[in-house]
Symmetry: C2
Subunit: 384 residues, 2 copies
Amino acid sequence: MSAERIYLDHAAGGALLPAVQKEMLRYLVGNQASPGGGHREGREAREELEKARQRVATFLGAKDVEGVIFTSGGTEAVQSAIRGWGEAVQKGTIYVSEMEHPAVESAVRTLGKKGFTLVRVSVDVEGRLKWGEVKVEKDKGLVCVHLAHHDLGTVQKIAEARKFADRVGAKLFVDATYSAGWVSFSVEESGADLVALSGHRLGGPKGSGALWIRSGTAWAAWLEGGRQEGDRRAGTENLPAIVGLGVAVEEWGKKGEAFRKEAGGAQKLFWHGVQKKVGIAKLHGAPLGVERNPAHLAVSFAGLEAEALALVLDRVGLAVRGGSGCVTREMRVPPGMKAIGATAEEARALILFTLGWNCGEEWTGEAADRVAQGVKRLTEALSA
Amino acid sequence: MSAERIYLDHAAGGALLPAVQKEMLRYLVGNQASPGGGHREGREAREELEKARQRVATFLGAKDVEGVIFTSGGTEAVQSAIRGWGEAVQKGTIYVSEMEHPAVESAVRTLGKKGFTLVRVSVDVEGRLKWGEVKVEKDKGLVCVHLAHHDLGTVQKIAEARKFADRVGAKLFVDATYSAGWVSFSVEESGADLVALSGHRLGGPKGSGALWIRSGTAWAAWLEGGRQEGDRRAGTENLPAIVGLGVAVEEWGKKGEAFRKEAGGAQKLFWHGVQKKVGIAKLHGAPLGVERNPAHLAVSFAGLEAEALALVLDRVGLAVRGGSGCVTREMRVPPGMKAIGATAEEARALILFTLGWNCGEEWTGEAADRVAQGVKRLTEALSA
């Protein structure tokens, strides 16, 4: 067995794209002037900022470049989108599943405590949102949908969410933090009103993210203070990260198709290897193909505890995520697994394997062997 | 005249300390794993995170390392401190001046709209807060004070603010985003309950900041979602920035005395030069010395408009800030200038000259010449 480690937790953090790295290294040795200054250094910084804004708008398929607001990451973009809408409308109804990422779930709960009505959208056994069965309220509404699920990998049909939103006269928020780039998306085609983006999931820098808001959408700034970002997001602009995000999304524009194809190929090889070698392995969420994020596998190993298995896999040189990709204190069972009706045993045994832009596929056989070895070791340890 | 530009807008953005730059360049070429993962890469990231936390606690003179929460910058730290306190206590009184930074002012106004009582603290002609004259309310209170003023440069006596807070049974929030490092401060000595810090003002990276909370202080997390930072600040940790902030504050521990001495010397030389060459120049805030941030000069040129003068100075190779360092839409006159009773003419003509760790003093004579030249040019243009 090769001693080289295999890292399959890219959704939590992965290497910067080479072009991003290069640009950030260039930027960090510069003068770090802020775009706000009325001097040459400030004007140059302003140009960098607006160039990045244009790049993000292009990536999102958005005509309105000014709709882009830079944030400190995906969580802030999500919180700012939902709570900013809530602040602006003061009361209304939020249509949302019970398996959203904690950033979404905590924002809608906070609004729920402030008097908003929460209408839950149910899902099928592979995690697809069922818009046909949703109860309709009459007041101002916000439909919250994710582009692909963070724990299940299932891609949602945004067009159906938009159709539902139109039917109830609601705005549409798309949480694209987990799967932008990996899954085809355009704000104009989808008709989204609010979109959240995370930079680091695109091979961009940590601490970068964006919120896109359709002009005319009721929304109030969430992070208040200075006048940066057109009074919509206060605080000195994190220009090195913003510049990095701009380069990252531009890279996806050029190479996204190749990234998706490569990840999808590796995903298939790896899953088939695991499936063949580990009898108890079970894939959750949508099957491989267009309905699944090509960089994501959610596999349960019923009878084993996810955290323990992740630790054993780490020992055999495979870095993975045991349990949900992101949990709150109360979420002992990944909400996605509960929502699709997985058994308690399966839900406790969920391992996420997430790929990045730099995975290739030469590791897939070895990684499947390591999974088999880890499962065997833990099973033996428990039976001893 | 030398063609080389002189940059005196460091408070808005300045070069990284060499050690910070080196560390960030090292970090950005790494695997970018997140501290949350239960694998080797995640544990190594966790170690980096906690090392930085320890460094920030040491810099702040805080015994409780766990009191440190990393944020996306000074504005988020300020907003999170004040609004998090507000969320936890639900009603109460905030004691605050009318010349705070917009991050503070907007947070207290937001709480004011939610039913909190705002009691305004007046200031003397050099910008010192007058705690003896403040009206006292009986409910739960928060005293908001800045370490040194962002537009006036005046250092506040935090001990007096603490004494007042004790008298009224209030918690003490110290906004140290503008002058930490440049002005002596320790959370234990000052008895602060909440402290906000900005990384980029310390030669650290943009997008880095910290909030320190004394254990037992009523406070609720502001940015919700995942469980990062002990459920106190959700979102994937921006580890490159956090690591950079850690190195920055460690550098200040080693070299802070030298930075302060060098900036103070340059401040004196430059101001004396300007004073000598430009008759209309008037220093605002505290006089040079221990009551003034050594990296800050607030000078009015009555009769001229600050923005216009800043543009002319830019043309003669001097990058400065015209008007307040940070304004909101409604603050056409810098609130600090209004609070100290400056004339409208002076308030409209305020130029900020802010120094950084890398200024040296060889530029001071040339910079004073350029100020004189800029003032002359603009005066002539207006009289023509």
